[in-house]
Amino acid sequence: MRRLNRYLIFMISLLVILMPLMVIIVLSAGTNWHYPDLWPQTFNMNYVFKMLFSNHELLSSLSSSITLAIGTVILTLVIAYPTAIALSYYDFKGKSFLNVLIYLPLIIPSIAVLTNMDFVMIKFGLEGSYFGVVAVHTLFALPYAIKLLVDNLSVLKNKYELASLNLGASSRQTFIHVTLPLSRLGLQGAVMMSYIISMTQYLGTLLIGNGNFLTLSVRMFPFTQSGKYQIAAIYAIMFMLVTLIPLYIIDVLITPRRKEVRAE
């Protein structure tokens, strides 16, 4: 009975999560879909595949999406990891201030932040450059990355590092053999979130990128706005593929080592 219950809950959750994705897939391949039909009158999956793999525009935007995402992941980690270590291991003056400061990019309506950032970037001569766009993406990825790392690191605090140092390990050894393995799960989360945030940025990519970076989001967003749902859905499928596959690979690479990470 309990088991049945559990499967029921599981199935419902699964349905709620997956149903919208199914709708998008049907939407991408179906035309003439009117109330009260439960299935579109014409359904042509070939069209979708043709669009996906032969459309030059889609493929080129794919590559610019991915290059930006990779840059964002790297820059985000470089900034977020030390910050998270400081926040979760140590007490210092201004810590609570920093704790709030981190959320700021999410809170302020992005159009205001971005317009002014555009100004700053022009002044720095970074507007339209790869680094400029990566910096914008990073700004919005930082809150997620730092928080995920902090959540993860502060559970264990730096007891293990202290032990390692007390046992005579150098701080470099400690970092490589203790800190890094312990934060692997947090790092995985941070990589995932910053990758996703970068992939989904629209206005920032357009404004700061100055039209040089036509990513999937940049191309897709106008279609959703003007109700070209079928095209939008095709972009959406491409989007799912390029998000899910790399993240799945990362997951597989990390999972086998999870046992040794467990602090038991």
Binding site: S13, Y35, A86, Y89, V100, P109, V155
Partner: protein, 292 residues
């Protein structure tokens, strides 16, 4: 241990990045909000824009409404996420492992997807009303309640719930996995009930992470534009839409005014985030991330 040098080293990348790209942008919007807008030959600096904000009744109403809405949606997502994460974490089986993978899906996809799907599913002539008509449960689409663009913002609420509950689940499961099951095992061995274990052991352990997730979700709900634009109700407008419309609707002489609105509302939501952090500190498990 913690030398000053080390701390500076750890924090400087963040501060450097933040000050160069973000703080500078905020400073510029602050200067504009004071009325300094040379492109239109406005160079007189005053606090008038800020005084106007507090007399702008429409803005204040919308601000309050958005705040309440953002808090409620974030709370729901956190509560639901906590329940599900805890439920599936207890069972260490393949099913829950699979579920964890699936629950990552919504985190990875942009909001616009779920908006797209909801429009197709839940609009009055959408798939679900169609299904109900086919099943004979309702006579025609007009019997189906208005869920999108409705006065209670159910459409936006559902979108946020769909996107954010999984985010909460993922963060909590990351923490729960890190902790392992030893604390719960000890608690259960000592004779505590499941409920007691959850309340006194698990919850304090994940509490800081939960509050962080709440603040992230709240911030997003408060500031994001696309979802309320597409699924919101015009009479009960939400702040990001209001601000965006002001921004792009013609009158550029209003830009300094818009900037002051932005800063006021940012300040308001910073205060909420700060209060949430403060409460988290006071709660069990707050000060040291659960480990004593």
């Amino acid at each position: 241990m913690l030398t000053k040098k080390k701390l500076v080293l750890l924090l400087s990348p963040f501060y450097l990045f933040f000050i160069l790209f973000f703080v500078s942008a905020i400073i510029r919007s602050f200067i504009t909000s004071l009325g300094y807008y040379p492109i239109l030959d406005q160079t007189k600096i005053s606090l008038n824009n800020y005084l106007d904000v507090f007399h702008d009744k429409m803005f204040l109403t919308i601000c309050l409404r958005t705040m309440v809405f953002a808090i409620i949606s974030a709370l729901f997502a956190c509560a639901l996420g906590l329940i599900i994460a805890n439920y599936f974490n207890q069972k260490n089986s393949r099913v829950s492992g699979f579920f964890y993978k699936v629950s990552q899906l919504p985190v990875m996809l942009p909001h616009i997807f779920i908006v797209l799907a909801l429009l197709q599913l839940l609009s009055q002539t959408g798939l679900i009303p169609s299904l109900l008509v086919h099943l004979g449960l309702i006579k025609s689409y007009s019997d189906f309640p208005l869920i999108l663009n409705d006065q209670k913002q159910i459409g936006i609420f559902l979108t946020y719930l769909w996107k954010e509950t999984p985010y909460v689940i993922v963060t909590l499961i990351l923490v729960l996995r890190q902790i392992g099951s030893k604390y719960q095992a000890v608690s259960l061995n000592l004779g505590a009930s499941k409920w007691q274990t959850f309340w006194h052991v698990t919850l304090p352990l994940v509490q800081p992470a939960l509050v962080n997730a709440f603040i992230i979700n709240f911030s997003f709900n408060f500031g994001s534009y696309e979802v309320p634009f597409l699924l919101g109700n015009q009479q009960k407008e939400l702040l990001p839409v209001y601000v965006y419309d002001l921004y792009v609707q013609g009158d550029i002489t209003q830009i300094p005014h818009v900037m002051s609105l932005n800063l006021v509302l940012s300040l308001a939501s910073i205060i909420i985030a700060a209060v949430a952090i403060l409460i988290s500190r006071k709660l069990p498990g707050g000060h040291n991330g659960g480990v004593r």
